[in-house]
């Protein structure tokens, strides 16, 4: 329970951002980011994927420099040119993706660059070791401080990031989805630490997609949408529905709804799929004309399931059958031939060949089919094929040899979708299909997916965005910690029912 009994906040806020903007090439990550952190308070920052939260964080951390806007620390304007400067100014950051040095020990990772010293600038390993142990005790975790960071679970990596930040003894502590991969117990410990830091008068920022956490920990909440500040409210004065409405910017109802389609016979049949330590006994079916939603918290194992089904990763047990014929494991090429397609989660790394042209990206998956006698392929044939698909999905591009790295997230996503539709799949798996793409494109993607279903495709849609899942899916599978914890028919699918299955908490 959040204790309101905290020392009265000092006048000047610890950190203040005013109408910050930041763009990457064509992508506008942040339009007007505004945020105020006060001493002895924990502020929550919520927003859909791609709302710009992490970008804001990275600007506070000094990793990115804002294109415009004001950045005040203790009331004084600052301009960090590097993360080192921000650190020196007393800002500690836990990034969304852990950034550890795999070859160094846990202790060294925590103290890199500011190790305790003895005479002759010699590192004092003893006291360093002792401090590390003390930190872990405070966090109540058991990690061997002398082991290498390589091979640590995401959870442990996250813990070490937290220990790092705490040990900095900073005035401002930023936590970007620190709980994404943590179990309940670990989360509780983290919260205890966060509260004690707050009570010491430090200013904290807490980013999370889990509302129960936000309400349990934070004093007030700031909502962002599409890179812009929406509102800030005391936790006491708001509720989940209010926040969700502001996050999504419209009622769930007026998202593009899936059109009714005649659901045919089973196309994809996954039985008892198991991969030690990542997911366990996953079974589900996808029928022709059906959109199956796969919901869950970040870190639940959904992407891993998708990767295994498509053969990118191997798996320990279970079978994948497509239209009656068995799909061999660990062989994407075979899965593609069988009629599977996967639009992966990480667009920039897994979906696109950054550095290659639109045409090359649109045809890389069908290069065999395009080539004469499976042998020779020419730029002309590639251009013809990609011209068709680019125009079908209305990819915005000056020419087919334009470099996709420069495209906006939404436009990139269209290229990825086109690339996979070009393989003429029978079952399409989309992982976070609209993560970080603008509302307009989002609607287009939704329209497209339901249209594909209408044409008899089977679609498995992994998404962390409830409105999307609820609006699109005929059936919703919910995963938690590597298992399918619920299968909910469209009729009974509500935010509450899904969230309950996803968090396991009695919301």
């Amino acid at each position: 329970m959040a204790s309101p009994a905290t020392p009265a906040p000092r006048a000047t806020p610890a950190l203040e951002l005013r109408t910050i903007s930041k763009s990457f090439g064509a992508v506008v990550a942040l339009r007007s980011g505004t945020l105020t952190l006060e001493h002895g308070k924990i502020m929550a920052l919520v927003g859909e994927n791609g709302a710009g939260k992490s970008t804001l964080v990275k600007i506070i951390a000094g990793l990115y420099q804002p294109d415009s806007g004001e950045f005040l620390l203790e009331g004084r304007p600052v301009e960090f040119r590097s993360t080192a400067e921000a650190k020196a100014a007393g800002i500690a950051v836990i990034y969304q993706e852990p950034t550890l040095f795999p070859d160094l020990t846990v202790t060294e990772n925590i103290f890199m660059g500011r190790q305790p010293l003895r005479s002759f600038g010699r590192i004092d390993r003893k006291s360093m070791h002792a401090e590390a142990i003390a930190l872990f005790q405070r966090l109540g975790v058991r990690i061997n401080p002398d082991r290498q960071a390589r091979g640590l679970s995401i959870a442990d990596q996250q813990i070490i990031e937290i220990a790092k930040a705490i040990s900095l003894d900073a005035r401002v502590l930023i936590m970007d989805e620190p709980t994404a991969a943590l179990s309940g117990v670990e989360v509780d410990r983290l919260f205890a630490v966060a509260r004690s830091l707050r009570d010491e008068g430090r200013a904290l920022l807490f980013i999370s997609h889990r509302f129960d956490e936000v309400f349990a920990l934070c004093d007030s909440v700031t909502v962002m949408r599409d890179g812009a500040y929406i509102s800030t409210a005391k936790i006491a004065d708001t509720d989940v529905d209010e926040i969700v409405r502001q996050m999504v910017g419209r009622d769930v109802a007026d998202l593009f709804p899936k059109q009714q389609t005649t659901i045919g016979d089973v196309l994809l049949d996954v039985k008892g799929l198991t991969s030690a330590g990542i997911f366990d006994d996953i079974s589900f079916q996808v029928r022709s004309g059906e959109i199956v939603g796969l919901a869950g918290l970040v870190g639940a194992g959904r992407s891993e399931v998708a990767r295994a089904v498509f053969g990118v990763d191997g798996y320990d047990g279970g079978t994948v059958v497509l239209a009656g014929s068995r799909v061999p494991g660990h062989d994407p090429a075979a899965a593609m031939r069988a009629g599977l397609a996967l639009v992966p989660e990480d667009r920039r790394r897994e979906g696109l060949v950054i550095g290659a042209s639109v045409a090359e990206n649109l045809t890389i998956a069908i290069r065999q089919r395009l080539s004469a006698a499976g042998l020779f392929i020419t730029g002309r044939r590639e251009n013809e094929a990609s011209r068709v698909w680019a125009s079908r999905l209305e990819v915005k591009s000056s020419a087919l040899d334009a470099e996709v790295g420069t495209f906006s997230g939404g436009n990139q996503q269209k290229v990825v979708l086109a690339k996979w539709l070009a393989t003429e799949p029978r079952v399409l798996i989309v992982d976070e299909p609209t993560r970080g793409i603008d509302v307009g494109t989002k609607a287009e993607v939704h329209r497209l997916l339901s249209q594909l279903a209408g044409e008899g495709l089977g679609i498995l849609m992994i998404s962390s965005e409830l409105p999307e899942v609820l609006g699109m899916a005929d059936r919703v599978l919910v995963m938690r910690e590597g298992r399918i914890t619920a299968t909910i028919e469209r009729a009974d699918a509500t935010a509450e029912s899904v969230m309950r299955a996803a968090t396991g908490a009695a919301a």
Partner: protein, 329 residues
Amino acid sequence: MNSLKRLTRARETGILLAFLLVVIATTVKNPSFVFSQDGFRDLLVTPMLVLLIAVGEAMVIITRNVDLSVGSVIGLTAYTAGTLFKYTDIPWLLVALIAIAGGAALGAVNGLLISIAKVPSLVITLGTLYAFRGINVLWTGSNRINSTDIPNDFQMIGTAQLLYIPVITIIAAVVLIAAAWYLRNTRGGREFYAIGSDPDAANLYGLKVGRRVLLAFIVSGALAGLAGVLYVARYGTVDSQAGSGFELQAVGAAVIGGVAIFGGIGSVWGAAIGAMLLLTINRALPVLGIQDFWQQAVVGALIIAAIVLDRILALRQARRLTVMEDSQA
């Protein structure tokens, strides 16, 4: 107990054992390999030039870079020193310092090109490998420095001993210990490993990546310069090809010594022992009755074996850890 465990598990220990094995086997076959004044001396002296550049090379590789130009740097600095001896009467200590500074400067050329222009070190140093050697040949032509041109008191260094330990060995040992101490016990030294372990994370963390990489190359160059000076002292004669091919020996020694070619892992100790093993094997094979044409083959097999071994060890450790995680969960 912890330190003992670390010692037994250390990658360097294995390579040290291999080295001792070679020495023992050879000595059994022929006692004078160790138990004769010159045998003992050569055991300690012969590997020292490669050892020095291997230490520099290790520091560079640990930052996920590589320096292929060290051989050419030795050539240039050795001829510089020789020329100074031949045509001037600058005191030899000053000559040595000049050569070392020259090596550092050449290293700085590499380092600046790499850290500022953000160009892969493999390409840059391959280029300077050519360029430095070419400059050397242009300058030297068909001249050579003969042992008669070198002041005797300086040549003495090549063979002189301090209570049975050759001076060259002492110099190398001092350098080695200093480098090892820096890498292990200072913030800067640890940053070398952090950078090599994950350069992007190092940037995110706010480490001064460029500056460290530059430093690594300067050190590597300076040590090559020192090796050049000692080359003159030991071999007395310098022509335009002095030190050619040393770069592969240096990289080989580092790799054999357990320095991972992609950075972040390894120690200058390992590289040093690797150098000892590499050059001692060369001398041991004939004693053991293996025709010396096969020496390189043995060296190659050794390098392959070393990296395969490292790979296996890494996999084994990874497995052990995951098992641990599961048992905890």
